[in-house]
Symmetry: C2
Amino acid sequence: MIGRVNHIAIAVPDLSSATATYRDTLGAKVSQPQPLREHGVTVVFVELANTKVELLEPLGETSPIAAFLEKNPAGGMHHICYEVDDILAARDRLQAAGARILGDGTPKLGAHGKPVVFLHPKDFTGTLVELEQV
Amino acid sequence: MIGRVNHIAIAVPDLSSATATYRDTLGAKVSQPQPLREHGVTVVFVELANTKVELLEPLGETSPIAAFLEKNPAGGMHHICYEVDDILAARDRLQAAGARILGDGTPKLGAHGKPVVFLHPKDFTGTLVELEQV
């Protein structure tokens, strides 16, 4: 069912410092920061040869990554996003298998403008999993 | 400098259960478990279209992932591995930039039999980074 790794998301307390680390120290190609107000994050895309890393900094008062950064003040790997062909079929298959979808189970438009769902970390080896229809 | 994402490593307390989750619930292709005694882990490779996830379970009394699982009993994302062309050049560039290499800085043979170094999470946004020469 799952296809490519679309991205690995890393939550960071300081986007400009994290971007410099990836660009200057690790020598990777990075995007300009993009504020995504409806998602409560500002994102920088680190473009790698086969996938991308997304550096996420909280934006606004109710950022979905705020609690994670309180627990992990230096930042850390926040979630992994796998591509699927059909988000509704994926959701139904997961629910039938007993896996929990976060929220009400309805796909939302994600940071790339495509439908996504998030899966409960407790059902996926402690890892927050995003599925994105591509 | 960094090239492809070689793998994302997820530490898990129960490899057989984690493998079933990736194979049966997420529908991914998984390998047989491979004990790597010299690395203190048993690994299952989850083969995705563009990269792989490695599920790691502690093996032996002094596994390098034991402390992580004590802090994260359900498991979680443990490190991300980027490919480099020249591990010594990468190491020297990172050290010149002030980044800390774990251990004595000498590349070791990693789980794939290729030279690797690990970088200090505090220098990389709270994320343990492995570099592998390919």
